[in-house]
């Protein structure tokens, strides 16, 4: 990996981290859900600064080409994030349903009490 791509990747990752932190600050993103993205950003930054880590790691886990290892881990990580989001979404849709039902019944009761 040459120094130019290292600098470009580094800048992009730092920018992304700044955006994420800023969104957390503005309460557009919950820290709970942003945590995994912050971790990815920091991990990529570390690997970007010390590319020999990738080579060392891929040799340790027994993957011949370091690039393959990056793709593989990246893919696995994406799947995990998507799955966690699906769980969060299911829970939310149940909660929204319960809230809507309670609200409708409450409104009904209130109307009857008013009359």
């Amino acid at each position: 990996m040459n120094i130019r791509i290292q600098i470009i990747v580094g800048i992009v990752v730092i920018l992304a981290l700044v955006v994420i932190v800023n969104m957390i600050r503005q309460k557009k993103l919950e820290l709970r859900y942003a945590l995994s993205w912050l971790c990815v950003g920091i991990a990529v930054l570390v690997l970007d600064c010390f590319p020999q880590l990738i080579t060392w790691l891929s040799w340790k886990v027994g993957i011949a080409s370091p690039v393959n290892m990056l793709f593989f881990f990246g893919f696995c990580f994406s799947l995990i994030i998507i799955f966690v989001l699906t769980i969060a979404m299911s829970r939310m849709s149940i909660r929204i349903k319960e809230l809507a039902q309670e609200l409708a019944l409450f409104e009904k009761e209130k109307k009857e009490a008013d009359n």
């Binding site: 929204i96 039902q101 409708a104 019944l105 009904k108």
Partner: protein
């Protein structure tokens, strides 16, 4: 005995008056509640003009969520029985009285109106009957109970089942799945023969394209219901 009819309504401005009038005429012992599933037509206005008993959902929840709201209403107001009646004219109100009597006399938790005991009236298409037979066979294998018409929408719930459905009810295509849930809870389910009509208006929610999803979803739901922990 307090008895409730749950009428889920989504864009039913054309039918809702007829449905409520039929209930007031033929099922006098029953109270009713319309669950307006955030209709975008004049369903709400029509009901309010006539002073119908209506609960308005703030967002569209789909059929399962709407009917469940009805069961929650039934539990809150301590009804002894609740039954769902759709606005498409498939179910005769006269059977409601027969079913209510059956529950009272035999102390069962749920009564299903089955088209296939006496095989009278509208018998659905061959393809649908094959699907229904399959679910019937699946439920028999998994729970040991004989349910000839597990997809029947004409089902009257007693207190225990009202409480169960108020807590937990499937989102879409709930009929076969919720029968298994009731059986798994050790509650008693009986069927009585009814005659159904071909629907008068509207279309089935199960189009040919959706029937594959329907079969897969309901089969999986029944299997998962069987291995669920209570």
């Amino acid at each position: 005995m307090k008895k409730l009819i749950i009428i889920p309504a989504y864009n039913e401005e054309a039918n809702i008056e007829k449905t409520v009038t039929a209930i007031q005429r033929d099922a006098k012992d029953f109270d009713y509640v319309i669950i307006n599933d955030c209709s975008i037509d004049r369903t709400r206005e029509i009901c309010e003009e006539h002073g119908y008993n209506i609960v308005n959902l703030p967002i569209n929840l789909g059929i399962g969520g709407a009917v469940q709201t009805g069961y929650k209403y039934a539990r809150k107001h301590e009804y002894d029985m609740a039954v769902q009646v759709d606005g498409d004219g498939q179910h005769d109100p006269e059977f409601l009285n027969i079913m209510a009597e059956y529950i009272e006399k035999n102390q069962v938790d749920m009564v299903i109106g089955s088209r296939f005991i006496e095989k009278k009236g509208f018998q659905s298409s061959t393809a649908r009957r094959v699907g229904i037979k399959f679910f019937s066979w699946l439920i028999k294998g998994l729970t040991g109970a004989t349910i000839t018409d597990p997809t029947s929408g004409l089902r009257m719930a007693g207190r225990n089942v009202i409480a169960l459905f108020a807590r937990d009810y499937p989102k879409d295509y709930p009929e076969p799945e919720s029968v298994v849930a009731v059986l798994r809870k050790g509650m008693t389910v009986r069927e009585i023969p009814v005659v159904m009509h071909e629907r008068e208006g509207g279309v089935s929610s199960i189009s040919p394209k959706k029937s594959v999803y329907y079969m897969v979803k309901v089969t999986l739901a029944i299997l998962i219901e069987r291995i669920r922990k209570y």
